[in-house]
Amino acid sequence: MPVFNQSRSRIIRLIFLVAFIIIIAQLFYLQVISGKFGRLADENAILRKTIYPPRGLVLDKKKRAILNNTLTYDLMVTPAQAKGIDTAFFCRLMEIDTTEFHKRMITAIIKNSSQKPSIFEASLPPQKYARIQENLWRFQNGFYIQERPIRSYPYNAGANIMGYLGEVDTNYLKKYADAGYVSGDYAGMTGIEASYEKALMGERGVQVLIKDNFSRIQGSYESGAMDEQAVAGKNLYTSLDIELQQLGEKLMSNKVGSIVAIDPRTGSIISMVSSPTYNPGYLTGAERRKHFSELYTDPRLPLLNRAVNASYAPGSTFKTLQALVGLAEGVITTQTNFSCSGAFYGCGSGNPMGCLDPGTYHLSTGITHSCNTYFANVMQRVINNPKFPSEDSSLRNWNRYMYAFGLGHRLGVDIPTEQKGTIPTPEMFNKVYGAGRWGFCNYRSVSIGQGEVTATPLQVANEMAYIANKGWFIIPHLVDSIEGGDKFNLLDKYKVRNVPINIPDSIFEAVHDGMQGVMETGTGRGAKVPGITVCGKTGTVENYYRGVKQPNHSFFCAFAPRENPKIAIMCVVENSGRFGGTYAAPIVSLMIEKYLNDTIATNRKPLEDRMSSINLIPPLMMQKLRTKDSLQKVKEMEKELKNIKDTLQSDDNLTEAEIRAGKTKDNKPSKDIPNKKPVKTDMVPPEKQREPVGNKKDTAKR
């Protein structure tokens, strides 16, 4: 055959060529021009895994770790690889039934797909952990145990100081956008954990890994060349005395209130008790959320750090400061006498202010006997000082002293959300009474620490440190130094001596005399510490709740030894009734003894035991607690009724009464309902259950 169509071979070649050119053009676009595919490929195959360094520890003054890290063990499951195991045996080990097993497996698959590991059970209890660990080889590949670091509290104390970790929320992420948090991370929410988050968190590392199409890890990328090492969190050194802290918490058990002890020489906080407290371990581990909501709804407010977040009228402890102001202003001398016939009549006889011990006093004895009239007179002189043209300016002058003593503003302690307290100002009175329409007599009770003045326990303790130091203080703080240096300048303000106002030493001596007298012959004489010269001041604070007078707060503040003060301390027992000397003073005396002598003398042990065992939970709180418990009971009852109905699925056939009578007891799913007893008709729980205190177990332990 002749090759008459030969020219067509050229067209065929052309077709081939054009097709190849089109393909090469597309390849050129994909591989050379468009850059996005490299990124998409990395998104596909590269996993940047954050490596969390261990958080820093907190050590007490003897370098004991009081906030530590420990490991908890989670049982992980990869559902796709857990097929064909001896389910019955496994369930026996785990103490669950097969329904529960399948439920958890399905949850795991829904959460993380069957190819990726999910938590089967978090924080295994020790026995279960041992049992599983022993038999793990039977469930190879499908199950494994993963370690997870959590916070631990070896001394089980200082929950209010340490604070807790919480999952970061969107607000937190926004606030600390450049700190590198991602949702799901944990960060310090309160206490030291929050204040020193930057130092404690350390530096996170990154491990670059390769994953496959099911997101299974296949190994490290570029043999780890792009990995970043994690740097462990820094340890914090404090002056806390953990044994003293434990003693304080024990003494304050079943009471509401606070103890704050400061080393006046350094401003370091030695102990800071807020009661009721909780087992700090409660807010770690698997049941964190449950415990948190329990604590959160407890009417005794265990999560409130009363040492810095509650402010009280300081009561008679405030008188020491009034004495200082009077002496410094020169309106009195140490020898000035005022007599009290039973009440203060400086504001007319219509409304006298009571006085406990009638008699004639000079400064020291006035303090010693806590004479109201004496200090009302002192403050009246300060305010009505002719040196000042108006009461406005004299009160402002008085304010200046108060601010200098650290009252009425935040001290700057290294615990977040510190309260300010209040100091009455001319502006405040102008608002209440109208400008020029008020005078000393409107607020004379301020002179004895009642009425418009409030202070936090920390401020009162700091006041003591100021008096002990004779005119200066260092802002109270928990952390003295940070391992590897203070890189974030968190501690700068705790290195400065504050000398707010120059007051001669002799004036302080007079106040010290009075305070020593308190311990020897005055209102605090029941709280003497054998062998130590303590200067103290009691306070008995009247208080009201919604206009109803409540039992008095018992206040006591002190420093010791007088000659060379090593501890400035205050204690408040809320609504204890009686006087400051009754409860707060003995507690303080035991604390001082423990701190200075490192032990409590045998003959004082009974006092310690008595103080620890007295239950002074305010009646109002008990009332709320009971209300809450019965409310909870009602809720549980309703829930139970609902569950019973759900199982029956026929509301009409059975009346509620019949259900209550427990006729359907056999039908209900007993496992899922808490408190499955048939509902009782009495709404008030029996005596024993009235105090199902969340941390009862723990307080008993201490």
Partner: protein, 446 residues
């Protein structure tokens, strides 16, 4: 061995053999890169034929043996047995219907012990030979429509059987034989008409139906206007224009929707629409598919394959990531990467340059075959050579175009490179019969 036996090696085109060996080696490397996992005992698994690359190597050895025997065969044998072979091929295709085994949604595979045999793949050899035989008959006058129809029948009959086995991709390969017919004198107008219909179908998919109808009508009106003088002289021009207008609108409005709805399977229609980045409009709303479900399906369907394939190739950039550093192909992001999507491994591992080298090799192969075809004295050899070129071209172009997102995903392998015993054997036999025929190019075969 061949050097020692001048009788066999005489006249053999060594360049083709060289390209063939190169391509097979590239294929083995790519399969190795795609399936090797860290820590595999390479030599051990190689000897035990447990891994895909060792299996492919085994197929390669088998192919070499068969090819050696082909080279020993008298070239007259092929033309003499062409018709018989065609009958055998058709018989095997029929045999599939009662004996096929269900593997991955195809009904085209017969299991012979450990082997999976796919007649549709192998049938290409017989069709190429049979077509060559028919066209080279002295009594065939290919300028006659009857002969053209018979030739078309020879090609499309196995294609129809293959479609019945749900192997649309393999069936489409048979259309490549039109290139042979074109070379042998099929009128260009038919080829043009083919392109026109293809363009129309693409337009139907891309452009909204009513808009397209208006466009077609406008073109027809313009044609009538510009040709008004001719129309005045010859009425037939007008009739032709109206006929074509009618045909176009008919295809666009009725034929294409009918085919998509009733003839093609749902996933195939989807793949075609995916290619143009469009949603399949022929999915009935009432089929219980929510928008999310459709989106999810897209994630896992053929568009997922193409997207992953594009990511793999695109991330290779100019120089490639290196043989075993290609993350996308090594960690199974691209489905079917050993077989139909093997080009991804090359594209990601060796980059743009590597891809160019591979495509260049293919282009040289195709041009070389065309050159060889043109130097044949016998029509049989020439037609066969064009048949081989056409089949190779179709496979290469569609396969690579599919991995880079230019063609719909139809499962056809890349010659010599894709993993698969049948395809490697088929392509080797196709090529070596050509080499054998070419060695005897001085002979005129009947």
């Amino acid at each position: 061995m061949n050097q020692q036996n001048p009788a066999i090696s005489k006249g053999i085109d060594w360049s083709l053999v060289g390209i063939y060996l190169l391509l097979v080696v590239i294929g083995l490397t790519a399969i190795f890169a795609a399936t090797y996992k860290e820590g595999d005992a390479v030599i051990q698994s190689f000897l035990k034929f447990k891994t895909d690359y060792s299996k492919q190597f085994f197929f390669f050895c088998a192919a070499l043996t068969i090819c050696f025997f082909i080279l020993l065969t008298d070239s007259k044998f092929f033309s003499a047995t062409a018709n018989l072979g065609y009958a055998l091929g058709i018989f095997l295709l029929f045999l599939v219907f009662p004996f096929h085994s269900r593997i991955k949604g195809t009904e085209s595979i017969i299991k012979l012990g450990a082997f999976n045999f796919q007649p549709a793949e192998f049938c290409k050899v017989f069709v190429a030979l049979a077509l060559a035989k028919y066209l080279s008959r002295p009594e065939t006058d290919f300028s006659k429509t009857r002969s053209q129809l018979i030739a078309t029948g020879i090609v499309l009959f196995p294609a129809a059987l293959t479609i019945l086995q749900s192997e649309t991709g393999l069936a489409l390969v048979f259309f490549s034989f039109f290139i042979v017919m074109y070379r042998e004198g099929l009128p260009s107008s038919i080829l043009l008409a083919g392109f026109a219909v293809a363009a129309l179908i693409v337009a139907t998919i891309v452009i909204e139906p009513n808009t397209l109808a208006i466009i077609i009508t406008t073109i027809a009106a313009l044609a009538i206007y510009s040709l008004r003088r001719q129309i005045r002289r010859r009425r037939r021009v007008l009739t032709t224009i109206i006929f074509f207008w009618f045909l176009c609108v008919g295809i666009q409005r009725f034929a294409v929707p009918y085919i998509f709805k009733n003839i093609l399977q749902k996933h195939q229609v989807e793949r075609i629409y995916d290619l143009f980045g469009k949603d399949n409009p022929y999915l009935k709303k009432g089929e219980g598919e929510t928008v999310e479900m459709t989106a999810k399906k897209k994630e896992s369907g053929s568009s997922y394959n193409v997207r992953q394939s594009k990511i793999a190739i695109g991330s290779g950039r100019i120089w490639g990531k290196g043989l075993l550093k290609a993350t996308q192909t090594r960690y199974d992001f691209v489905p079917e990467q050993r077989t139909d999507f093997i080009f991804c491994t090359v594209g990601e591992g060796f980059g743009f340059l590597g891809s160019i080298v591979l495509l260049g090799l293919y282009l040289i192969l195709l041009f070389r075959i065309v050159t060889i075809a043109e130097r044949q004295r016998s029509t049989f050899s020439r037609c066969y050579a064009y048949g081989v070129a056409a089949v190779f071209f179709f496979h290469i172009a569609i396969n690579v175009a599919m991995t880079v997102g230019l063609a719909p995903v139809i499962g056809i392998p890349l010659p010599f490179v894709s993993y698969g015993g049948t395809s490697l054997l088929t392509f080797s036999i196709l090529l070596f019969i050509l080499i054998r025929l070419d060695a005897d190019r001085q002979m005129v075969l009947r």
